[in-house]
């Protein structure tokens, strides 16, 4: 029996709704491989953005084993489409787009503003001081920061990995 679909958090809508092969004998005419939206997101965070599975799982708010399961399923499906010359359709899953968040530069809170641009911070009332919340960028920035902190001073332990 198939597992019932659970709701997942996803931050970005896929750029296209699918892919079609060319050349060869199939032209994608057979049944397309269906990639779920959360599978697309898992592959994007992990292979495209280069996050660790732990970091990616945190963004999607799923456990690490659940993330791994979603990610492996995405890889298997894409491999099948490549090898069998089938088209791919990115659709379905049960996802909620969690992308309407802003960070206030004044008080540091994070708040949701849905589809509309915010005019003031709902916590401190500050205006004109927010940026769109970008979880991937935030993780990359803080990783870069901690790698640099221990570097070059000659006194602290170097945190850079070899």
């Amino acid at each position: 029996m198939p597992r019932p679909l659970k709701t997942r958090f996803v931050c970005s809508e896929p750029a296209v709704s699918g892919f079609r092969p060319y050349g060869g004998s199939t032209d994608g005419g057979s049944v397309p491989v269906v990639i779920l939206c959360e599978e697309y997101e898992a592959l994007r965070l992990s292979d495209y953005e280069g996050l660790s599975q732990m970091q990616a799982a945190g963004i999607m708010q799923v456990s690490r084993p659940t993330f791994t399961r979603i990610y492996i399923s995405a890889r298997k499906k894409i491999a099948a489409a490549f090898v069998e010359g089938r088209s791919m359709s990115i659709e379905g899953g049960k996802v909620i787009y969690n992308d309407g968040w802003y960070v206030c530069g004044k008080c540091g809170c994070k708040f949701e503003s849905g589809k509309k641009e915010p005019s003031i911070c709902p916590l401190c009332g500050g205006g004109d001081c927010f940026r769109k919340y970008d979880p991937v960028g935030e993780i990359k920035r803080s990783a870069g920061f901690s790698a640099m902190r221990g570097c070059g001073c000659g006194k602290r332990k170097c945190l850079k990995k070899r």
């Binding site: 708010q61 909620i96 008080c107 994070k110 708040f111 949701e112 849905g114 916590l123 009332g125």
Partner: protein
């Protein structure tokens, strides 16, 4: 404007509890009258559905904003529907500090 704050105790010096559905108390602060009261979270020990129950409870208190930490995918669409704005903070802030921020608003 009424704001609900998920918190660990029922005093102004209690910390904001970042576990939205499981916090023991909600501080209900009315920025117009300056009145503050504490309500026990009725769903804090529920086996399941604590998040959605807490959303309903907060809505019944007339809140239009909620200050907490992480909001899961069970509660996000509910807050969106009810037009209650989610505010997420990190670190250790007290109810008093949140009130000060809201007052300057």
């Amino acid at each position: 404007m009424i704001t609900a704050i998920s918190c660990s105790g029922n005093s102004m010096d209690s910390q904001v509890d970042t576990r939205f559905g499981r916090c023991p108390f909600f501080a209900i602060f009315d920025s117009e009258s300056g009145k503050l009261r504490f309500e026990e979270n009725p769903g804090k020990e529920a086996e399941s559905g604590a998040g959605p129950a807490a959303v309903k409870f907060i809505a019944s208190q007339g809140a239009q904003k909620i200050v907490s930490g992480e909001f899961g995918f069970k509660v996000k669409p509910l807050f969106d529907q009810l037009d209650i704005q989610m505010i997420s903070i990190e670190g250790n802030k007290t109810v008093r500090e949140i009130m000060e921020l809201l007052k300057s608003n």
